[in-house]
């Protein structure tokens, strides 16, 4: 009898034990404080060697290596190459547990994710506004890299976008290079339909799960899914309405080549299945790898939304350097300030050696930016991008962009199936408000 009772309650007992364990953990968290009291917990004693985390061996990691040549002190630096998503995981684990052991002095964070970190762990990062002049950088980079009036990030590469297009295919459809300069997205869709009709080639390849094209449209008009005060801005957002109408018109036409993932996407234009690629400048190397298409590609300014004040400039991607609030922070900030923060010559090296376009405005005056790119018919690709970069409207993407886009992606399918635009926007607004307020 007693045994039976015992048996029956054993589950309950187990549960109780677990709950106490969990409670013990959370209590521990409160008493331990946050990430900033690193001194007594971690062992990241500063011995003159800096640790940096970045991704892409041929790009960001290479940029850090070159930067060391431009720092006037002897510097020991270890650079760990990890993917951006991996860096986010590690940072989250380290900062949320307050265990700063092994955390880097310098870390690269994508602009779209930076606010989440800055707001969640306000004391974990070291403000570096004193080490460089924010006015020297493209203004659109400042909002995502600063928080609460303090500058935390040193703006690095730009995600300035352009309209890469196949000159030969567009000419076949009757469009000259001039016809593609400073067009609107509405005009782009019209051209798309024409190109498909006359040449049989799709205008663009799109992944239905990637709304990058909507982001570019929105930003060209200086608008976003949220307002600067973090209010959800969907229902009454005229720019978004126009963007979705353009998107639907494009998707309803035959002019879209559907892809399902990134390699598929790159393959589509390497294979000649898409006549244009409206995206960030970082796509250039992937376009250039199809050597047989050399000389056929050109780049024009990204289309803009047909709204007053909209610019033919938008951003997609890009990242910035951050300094963690641990031993060695002054040294790390000095290093960044002296190199990425102010050295024009260094940026020339970046362009010639790794093709990285920074957001340091004075850099575009240098010689390296004037290089003509044969793959693109002798266009001054780098210079063009650096000029468009300065026009990019500044927006505050807040912390909920990815979440809202997830909702929008699902609702978009209803819109494409024929639901009214108003209903779709209302539903998205409602869901987003429920989820993020």
């Amino acid at each position: 009898m007693l045994k039976n009772v015992f048996k029956r309650f054993s589950w309950l007992l187990g549960l109780a034990l677990l709950i106490t364990m969990l409670a013990a953990c959370s209590e521990d968290d409160q008493t331990q404080g946050s990430a900033n009291d690193s001194g007594d917990e971690g062992t990241s004693e500063f011995e003159g060697s800096l640790l940096a985390w970045a991704w892409d061996q041929n790009f960001n990691v290479a940029a850090l290596e070159i930067a060391q040549n431009y720092f006037d002190e002897e510097l020991k630096m270890e650079i760990v190459d990890s993917s951006s998503a991996d860096i986010v995981q590690r940072l989250n684990a380290g900062l949320s547990s307050g265990t700063m052991k092994g955390m880097p002095n310098i870390v690269l964070i994508e602009d779209g994710r930076a606010q989440t970190f800055l707001r969640s762990y306000p004391n974990a990062f070291y403000p570096i506004g004193e080490y460089f002049n924010t006015d020297d950088f493209a203004s659109y980079k400042i909002a995502p890299t600063s928080y609460d009036g303090k500058q935390y990030g040193l703006p690095f590469d730009t995600g300035v976008t352009g309209l890469f297009y196949r000159k030969d295919i567009l000419e076949e459809a009757g469009y000259s290079e001039e016809d593609l300069q400073n067009i609107t997205w509405g005009e782009y869709v019209d051209i798309a339909i024409e190109v498909k009709e006359k040449t049989g080639t799709a205008m663009i390849s799109l992944d239905p799960n990637d709304l990058g094209i909507i982001r570019m449209m929105l930003q060209s008009a200086g608008s976003w899914y949220t307002t600067p005060d973090d209010e959800i801005n969907i229902e009454n957002n005229d720019a978004l309405k126009l963007a979705l109408e353009n998107y639907k018109k494009l998707m309803d036409s035959e002019a879209v080549y559907m892809v399902s993932d990134w390699s598929n996407y790159i393959g589509s234009f390497n294979n000649g299945d898409a006549a244009t690629v409206p995206t960030g400048n970082w796509m250039a190397p992937s376009i250039e790898q199809a050597e047989s298409q050399a000389g056929l590609w050109r780049v024009a300014p990204i289309p803009r939304l047909d709204i007053d004040g909209a610019k033919n400039a938008a951003n997609l991607g890009g990242s910035s350097w951050y300094v963690l609030n641990i031993d060695g922070k002054e040294k790390a900030a000095e290093f960044l300030g002296q190199t990425f923060g102010s050295n024009k010559d260094f940026y020339q090296d970046l362009v010639t050696e790794i093709g990285a376009i920074g957001t340091f405005k004075a850099a575009s005056e240098g010689e390296a930016y004037q290089i003509e790119d044969d793959f693109f018919g002798g266009q001054k690709l780098i210079y063009k991008f650096s000029q468009w970069m300065e026009d990019i409207p500044q927006i505050d993407s807040g912390i909920n962009t990815n979440g809202i886009e997830g909702i929008l992606e699902a609702e978009m399918q209803n819109y494409l199936k024929g639901e009214s635009l108003e209903d779709v926007l209302n539903n998205t607004q409602e869901q987003a408000e429920n989820q993020f307020k």
Binding site: S10, D81, S82, D86, S97, K101, G102, P285, A290
Partner: protein, 275 residues
């Protein structure tokens, strides 16, 4: 009639085989192609294999990563089997008042997703780092330790011990073997099949483990294979030829373990028949 049925069976099986083998086949073909050909979906073997291999071995620490993965996987497998089978055996063979309670608590712990204990675990290893750096953050030991005691394997071995003839334990005791002797001399040899199956599962789990090593291993010289592959794909213009080469290399050990164990599967079966 029977013949037609057979033809259909074979056609269906052929299609199913092709569908399941195709990704692997494509992976092997892609490792011989340039990145641009991989994205283009080329299905013919190319001549770029040597370049891909040199590129992979020169620019990335793939050998270190393989060695790390092997160390972790082998030690984890051995410890997991030892601890899991000892516990499973104990739970089934010995009588104790509270054993069902303990067992239930153990099973309950399977319900907690790893993501939920990740941060506390990381804190724990942060503390361990301060006193015993050899087992702390950024060591292979930190990857091995939390994964060797899993409720799943205790459960797995307890279930399988139910099929083990208890009389053998009694016989062993009569012949003067100690409890540990009984376990190692009688139980282990007659449960080879179970061990082989468990070894495959444990090895694969450890080899493919990503989230915990990702967080706890920071220095590149400690990275395991999945971390390296994740890094390879992180560039703005990833080299898919090189990635495919790395994945093929990473797949080999698990395939090898599986085929080795398959042999033991048969041997284990025969052993248990004899026993």
């Amino acid at each position: 009639m029977n013949k037609i049925k057979r033809i259909f069976t074979y056609v269906f099986l052929s299609i199913a085989t092709f569908v399941s083998i195709f990704p692997f086949l494509w992976m092997c073909i892609s490792m011989t192609n340039k990145s641009v050909d991989v994205t283009r979906g080329r299905l013919i073997p190319g001549s770029h294999l040597f370049e891909n291999i040199t590129n992979l071995f020169q620019n990335y620490n793939i050998i270190t990563s393989i060695v790390n993965s092997l160390i972790v996987a082998v030690i984890t497998t051995v410890l997991t089997l030892l601890i899991g089978s000892l516990a499973g055996y104990g739970f089934e063979i010995f009588r104790s008042k509270g054993k069902d309670v303990v067992f239930n608590i153990l099973i309950l712990s399977m319900m907690i997703p790893f993501a939920a204990i990740m941060i506390p675990l990381y804190r724990l290893f942060g503390r361990i780092s301060a006193t015993a750096p050899l087992f702390g953050i950024d060591t292979l030991a930190a990857v091995i330790l939390p994964t060797v005691i899993t409720a799943f394997f205790v459960f797995f071995f307890r279930q399988n011990t139910k099929m083990f003839a208890r009389d053998l334990v009694e016989a062993g005791r009569m012949d003067g073997l100690g409890e540990i002797g009984i376990f190692f001399r009688i139980f282990v040899p007659s449960m080879k099949t179970t061990y082989a199956a468990a070894a495959i599962i444990a090895f694969m789990n450890s080899w493919n483990n990503y989230l915990w090593p990702l967080i706890v291993l920071q220095s590149p010289e400690n990275h395991t294979i999945p971390l390296l592959i994740s890094t390879l794909g992180a560039g703005y213009s990833p080299d898919y030829g090189v990635i495919m080469t790395a994945i093929v290399i990473a797949t080999l050990p698990t395939a090898l373990v599986f085929f080795l164990m398959q042999k033991h599967f048969v041997a284990g079966m025969m052993g248990s028949v004899k026993g």
